[in-house]
């Protein structure tokens, strides 16, 4: 009896994560999919069919027959949407590369710092999270605007003769994204680099590698899982980013998060905005699956 109970308990622990996924991912996603095949209406809620749970199966079937994919066709036909997707992907790729370029040396420096310093350095990376994300992005407005700190500093240095227009351009968006997501790049990289065995580098040196060669032949390949993890942690939220482009970007900064916001709030078209969200998810699933495959392969290699 006790053993049966134990095995049930063991099995149910396996089911906990599935239940979690079902509750927090699949159920909301299905609701969004359902919305995306509905039609907008001037009503409360603003779409048809509303699909009341209490209608029972016959009522549901009646509602399901009204579903249509016209919203998806609409999105395909208007160039705005795919241009927004492309522009978001481009901004996300550039921003992720920049974050890697800045984050890698940072993580490397932290991992090679004296052991006693490391907790402090790690703390400094995490420290910005103690202030609200929104406030930190707002602060950049003060730094980047025409009479802002950056321009005043550059003018004082004499590097520029006239204040630069940075705020409300794509450059400001890149600065905002790199700043906000840098910790997500640094932390996995640091975790990886810190665990690496320094004696491997010594061995490489003994075998005739210069320090640079040793880095590219030993440290870099070993750090790839950290690089990939960091890049995905930055890339995926950046594609759908809304706050940074709307606060720091110009009116012509095209990102899918903003297009979706306009569709939802300005057009009041919940169905089309849901369709936009479903396609965004499909676009993001591909890199996530690639990521998981590379993770799986890395694990196999370790074994």
């Amino acid at each position: 009896m006790k053993r049966v109970l134990q095995s049930i308990a063991a099995r149910s622990t396996i089911w906990v994560p599935y239940f979690w996924l079902l509750l927090l991912f699949l159920a909301p996603f299905l609701m969004v999919v359902k919305l995306s095949v509905s039609e907008p209406a001037i009503a409360q809620p603003p779409y048809l069919p509303a699909m009341d749970f209490w209608d029972g199966p016959p009522g549901w079937w009646e509602d399901i027959r009204q579903f249509s994919i016209s919203n998806y066709i609409f999105i395909m036909e208007d160039s705005l949407y795919w241009k927004s997707y492309l522009s978001s992907l481009r901004i996300a790729i550039i921003a992720t590369s920049l974050t890697l370029l800045i984050g890698y040396p940072l993580a490397y420096g932290m991992a090679r710092a004296p052991r006693a310093w490391r907790p402090t350095l790690l703390m400094l990376v995490i420290l910005p999270f103690w202030t609200s994300f929104l406030i930190r992005v707002y602060a950049w407005i003060g730094i980047l605007k025409k009479e802002g700190l950056l321009n005043q500093f550059l003018l004082w240095l004499g590097v520029i003769g006239e204040p630069l227009t940075i705020l409300n351009t794509n450059i400001a968006v890149y600065i905002g994204i790199v700043y906000s997501y840098l910790p997500f790049m640094v932390l996995p990289l640091y975790a990886n680099l810190e665990k690496q065995d320094v004696s491997l580098l010594e061995a490489a040196n003994d075998l005739g590698c210069t320090n640079r060669q040793a880095f590219w032949k030993v440290t870099w390949p070993l750090s790839l899982p950290g690089v990939i993890a960091g890049c995905f942690l930055v890339f995926i939220p950046t594609v759908g980013e809304f706050v940074i482009p709307s606060l720091l970007g110009g009116s012509d900064t095209l990102m899918i998060g903003r297009t979706l916001y306009d569709e939802f709030f300005q057009n009041r078209d919940w169905p089309v905005s849901s369709a936009v969200a479903v396609i965004l998810l499909l676009i993001l699933i591909v890199p996530i699956m690639l990521f998981q495959r590379s993770e799986g392969r890395a694990k196999e290699r370790e074994q």
Binding site: Q44, S251, D252, T259, F265
Partner: protein, 363 residues
């Protein structure tokens, strides 16, 4: 065990007591625009009626509408603007007002009533809280330097050459097609409330010609922008621009903000108080509306927010710098030039929004 029982009974009694207290406490949940009331009014209402106010604020019609359409907001009084109100009434979001509970409605201003009829036929669902115009706010000194005078006409915005002269000092425009497209239609000599697709496209084309000079389409940043002198022209809401003017005067950093209702006329907008169909405290909500319509109360609100209200009896109680400011209370001649608009149908709405995105992003 005894201890356990005791420790459970006491909190249970406490909970029961607070429930009774709550059942007796009368509450009204109000959802209004941010920075839109003299807060002492809320305290005085509670003192007089014993009804507690839970006051919450929003900063865009779109946010309010999304909440209302999703339903179950828990608010008893909300304050949408005219065109939004009209659509929300159609969607069945609001309940008809019980006029027998609103004796102060007799103070309302017939002229404003007549104009809000376009949104709420017969004023069955709403009362006017404040009204104002959508005009041009500007930095007086910067504009004088570049254009040699004050702003009196929409030319400064819709003439690409004139607007380009102000480009270097910063131009913001409301991110709200329902405010800007009618102004363009009016400037072209068309009916600002036109529902004709071709005319709407012409208005969008006109805006496209001035697009390159506009720094940002945003519905609130211009308040700080004007006040700090970061921008020199904004097409925006009258009261927001007055707020910028006051902040600039307080800061005393040499920035003077002006507001113009251009000679071609401007859009007149109305913020209306209404009660959602699913409100829980309907009686309290009516009492709140009735209180707001008391001339001395609404006068106090206007004196604080620098907007005109729809209450004729309050005019005598207003501060001189409010009631005598033609930018707030326009004279009869200007008032005649102000126009109202009604909501676009679903098809035109999509057309306009698509054009608006094209104007903003070039896509």
């Amino acid at each position: 065990m005894k201890f356990l029982a005791k420790s459970m009974v006491l909190p249970a009694i406490a909970v029961a007591l607070t429930c009774v207290a709550q059942a007796q406490e009368r509450v009204v949940n109000v959802y209004n625009w941010s920075d839109y009331i003299d807060e002492s009014i809320l305290g005085e209402f509670t003192k007089e009626t014993g009804i507690k106010i839970v006051y919450d604020v929003f900063d865009s019609n779109e946010i309010l509408e999304t909440k209302l359409l999703a339903g179950g907001t828990g608010y008893d009084v909300v304050v949408p603007s005219g065109t939004f109100l009209a659509r929300q009434i159609q969607a069945g979001v609001f309940q008809p007002l019980d006029m027998s509970k609103l004796p102060n409605a007799k103070h309302l201003w017939a002229e404003i009533q007549r104009r809000t009829d376009a949104y709420d036929p017969g004023q069955k669902h709403s009362i006017n809280y404040m009204w104002g115009t959508t005009g041009i706010g500007y930095n007086v000194k910067a504009v004088k330097e570049r254009l040699g005078g004050e702003i009196t006409s929409w030319d400064v915005f819709f003439d690409p050459e004139k607007l380009a002269k102000l480009q270097d000092c910063g131009i913001h425009v409301l991110d709200a097609p329902a405010e800007i497209i009618p102004a363009a239609l009016n400037y072209l000599g068309k009916n600002p409330d036109s529902k004709d697709a071709d005319e709407l496209k012409q208005a969008a084309a006109l805006l496209q010609t001035v697009r390159s000079s506009v720094q940002k389409f945003h519905s609130s940043e211009y308040i700080n922008g004007l006040a700090n002198g970061d921008i020199c022209l904004a097409v925006g809401w009258s009261g927001d621009i007055f707020q910028a003017r006051d902040r600039a005067a307080e800061a005393d950093a040499g920035v003077e903000v002006g507001y113009s209702i251009p000679e071609q006329g401007a859009l007149m907008w109305f913020d209306q108080m209404a009660i959602p169909s699913d409100a829980n405290n309907v009686d309290e909500a009516h009492e709140f509306l009735n209180y707001i319509m008391r001339p001395d109360v609404i006068a106090k609100a206007s004196n604080y927010v620098y907007y005109a209200n729809g209450n004729q009896a309050s005019t005598a109680l207003l501060d001189k710098d409010v009631v005598e400011d033609p930018a707030i209370y326009p004279d009869a001649e200007t008032l005649a030039k102000l126009y109202v608009t009604t909501p676009w149908g679903a098809r035109n709405q999509r057309l306009v929004n698509r054009e608006w995105t094209r104007i903003k992003t070039g896509q």
